[in-house]
């Protein structure tokens, strides 16, 4: 077990434990905060996979953006002062059974499959090669994402804005 393995298990443990807290926390704000550690652990796993750009995106977008939005969402709740912000769980046993089957299936698949592995060395940085593919092969997707984000922005603003209809 070398150093990388130790770091990997550390991050994996952070991810799984905090994800478990997210599901089980009674207070929704605590759940949101432990989601922060889940994202954090996942970004560490990305780094270990050699996907440094994705790791930074994870930190920037998820921790910096989505979580803030999530907390705002809690704070916007209409009856925040009079109603306890609690999250309960129902039907635990069927859920555990289904998740168990699903997990067993995934683990079984993972070990039994011959994956198409690309044996190339991990590059010094992935961002440049990513940029190169975005400008050449996937240029259409790059521009389409621009339009997707425009539509998403207009849609989000339309829904969240407060002007009513006639």
């Amino acid at each position: 077990m070398n150093l990388y393995d130790i770091i990997f298990y550390l991050f994996a443990a952070i991810t799984i434990v905090s994800a478990f807290i997210v599901v089980n926390a009674k207070n929704i704000v605590y759940a949101a905060f432990s989601l922060l550690f889940t994202f954090f652990g996942v970004s560490g796993l990305y780094v270990l996979l050699g996907a440094d750009f994705i790791a930074i995106v994870q930190v920037m977008v998820y921790i910096g953006g989505i979580l803030v939005l999530l907390l705002f969402g809690v704070m916007l709740t209409h009856k925040i002062t009079s109603v306890d912000i609690k999250a309960g769980s129902v039907q635990t046993i069927p859920a555990v059974i289904i998740i168990g089957i699903f997990a067993a299936l995934l683990i079984g698949l993972m070990y039994s499959t011959h994956w198409a592995v690309n044996p190339a060395e991990i590059p010094v940085t992935t961002t440049k090669s990513l940029g190169k593919t975005l400008v050449t092969e996937y240029v259409l997707i790059f521009e389409l994402l621009g339009i997707l984000l425009l539509v998403a922005m207009i849609g989000a603003a339309t829904i969240a804005r407060r002007d009513g209809d006639k």
Partner: protein, 503 residues
């Protein structure tokens, strides 16, 4: 950098470029005229018509756009062929009709200044669908599907002051998020198995063998779940009744026709491109023996038809009834996929054109009545057939056509589907489909019974129609009647549009 291939690619996607430019122009126009939104629908129509003309004029052009320079020179992100062009034409035609639909709709008119956003998002949907029908790369499929989904989530909840509307949007976005996540997981598994996201390269990888079939089956199930969500096939249909009931009627009509068409196009293209090794002389597809598509799609088709039709029997809300009926129609259309032959695809193309006309027509009449009486409940339709005979008779024609009885166009659509089934010796499926049609007769005719035979409780007010309303109904009504008798042009056109780009 080789620019000639880029120019070729851009020349191949002219219709899509025009739609994107129109989207941008609509936003600009919306920003310039803050108060006056009258010009926006006309700009939308202009863009749609120009784009449609380009599709028609380039219908014979074939080729791959945006080729992958690094992996192989042959295949690209998009495969432009006449099959895709047919669906694009269908989408453009539906969109033109929906623009008029929305112009006549009171609930859209009441959104006032937000009409600019309405058309922007509508074009977001159209653009997503146009790219979807010709996507031949899993990444492209995913991105275009997301573009379609984002816009439709917002549009489903566009009328903000109605609770039902927000509920529809929320349900749509939660189920949709799960479906697209599941599909993305399937895509990643396929990439892990084959090392490529291009459908053509996946085909080559599958033919070379050495693939774990269990994992492949699992990932295909996940991808089918994502696509099945878009075409609202059972068991991925939960959202359909609530969303169709809650969304503005124009968007419901659009979702039930265009969104479904794009979903079917991508399902067919996915199977055809990634799994078919050869098409034999009589048009049958030879599939790579890695996954039992036939059983899977047959089960989906039977479930979808049966559940859609039986659930529709108990619906009193007309929009909800039409939602279940559209689920049932997705089931009939899946029968065309099941036969895995050119005849089956031809039947789907014919059915979709007819389905567009009759479904839009029914939704339009429901909208006209709902705008005047404020109700979509079947009991409020009592006696309407006598006070406004025009609406009653045309609604009757559309519903009879949806059932699939002669002499309407719906009969021709079903006929071709059943011929394809019998041709492939799938008599059991054909019998189930016929029985389902009989069931569907009950709930379609029930509406007519209420309109013509039930005595109304109070006095029924006459529904005043503007000339534009009458013209719109007639424009949809005449093809439904004419195609029931003189259908060879449509059949010939569909037959000429069967070509898939393959190697």
């Amino acid at each position: 950098m080789d620019f000639s291939s880029l120019y070729d690619s851009l020349a191949l996607i002219k219709p899509e470029i025009i739609i994107s430019v129109t989207l941008v122009l609509i936003v600009v126009l919306d920003l310039i005229y803050d108060k006056n939104k009258k010009l926006v629908p006309y700009l939308a129509l202009l863009g749609l018509i120009v784009s449609g003309i380009y599709i028609l004029s380039d219908i014979a052009n074939e080729g791959f756009a945006f080729k992958m320079s690094a992996t192989s020179n042959k295949f690209g992100l998009l495969a432009l062929d006449s099959f895709g062009s047919y669906f694009k034409l269908l989408i453009i035609l539906t969109s033109v009709l929906i623009v008029f639909f929305a112009k006549h709709s009171v609930e859209i008119e009441n959104t006032g200044k937000r009409q600019g956003e309405f058309y922007t998002l509508l074009f977001g949907m159209i653009l997503g669908m146009m790219f979807m029908v010709s996507a031949s790369d899993l990444i492209m499929i995913y991105v275009s599907m997301e573009l379609l989904s984002f816009s439709s989530y917002v549009l489903a909840g566009f009328i903000k002051l109605r609770d039902r509307n927000s509920e529809a949007s929320l349900k749509y976005i939660i189920f949709g998020g799960v479906a697209s996540g599941v599909m993305l997981f399937g895509i990643s598994l396929i990439y892990g198995l084959t090392g490529t996201t291009n459908l053509y390269s996946i085909n080559a990888a599958l033919q070379s063998g050495n693939i774990n079939l269990i994992v492949l089956g699992f990932s295909l199930l996940l991808i089918v779940a994502g696509i099945g969500y878009k075409i609202s096939a059972v068991p991925f249909h939960f959202w359909t009744p609530d969303v169709y009931e809650g969304a503005p009627i124009s968007i419901t009509a659009f979702l039930s026709v265009a969104s479904k068409a794009a979903g079917f196009a991508i399902l067919i293209r996915f199977i055809k491109t990634a799994f078919v090794t050869n098409v034999d002389g009589s048009g049958n597809w030879l599939l790579v023996p890695v996954f039992d598509w036939k059983t899977l799609i047959s089960v989906f088709a039977i479930l979808t038809m049966t559940l859609g039709n039986f659930a529709a029997l108990w619906q009193d809300n007309l929009k909800r009834m039409l939602a279940y009926s559209s689920i049932a129609h997705a089931g009939y259309l899946l029968l065309g996929v099941v036969v895995f032959s050119q005849i089956g695809i031809e039947a789907i193309l014919i059915y979709f054109a007819i389905y567009m006309l009759m479904n839009l027509g029914s939704f339009y009449i429901v909208m006209l009545i709902a705008d005047k009486t404020g109700s979509e409940d079947i009991h409020d339709y009592s006696g309407l057939g006598y006070v406004t005979p025009f609406l009653g008779v045309s609604f009757a024609v559309f519903l009879v056509s949806l059932t699939g009885l002669p002499p309407t166009a719906g009969f021709i659509g079903k006929l071709y589907l059943f011929i394809a089934l019998i041709d492939a010796k799938m008599t059991t499926l054909a019998v189930i489909a016929v029985l389902n049609s009989v069931v569907s007769l009950y709930y379609y005719i029930r509406v007519l019974k209420h309109m013509f035979l039930t005595k109304p409780n109070g006095e029924v007010k006459e529904i005043k129609l503007s000339t534009a309303n009458v013209v719109y109904v007639i424009v949809l009504l005449i093809p439904v009647l004419v195609l029931g008798i003189y259908f060879s042009p449509l059949v010939n056109f569909a037959e000429s549009c069967l070509a898939f780009l393959s190697f």
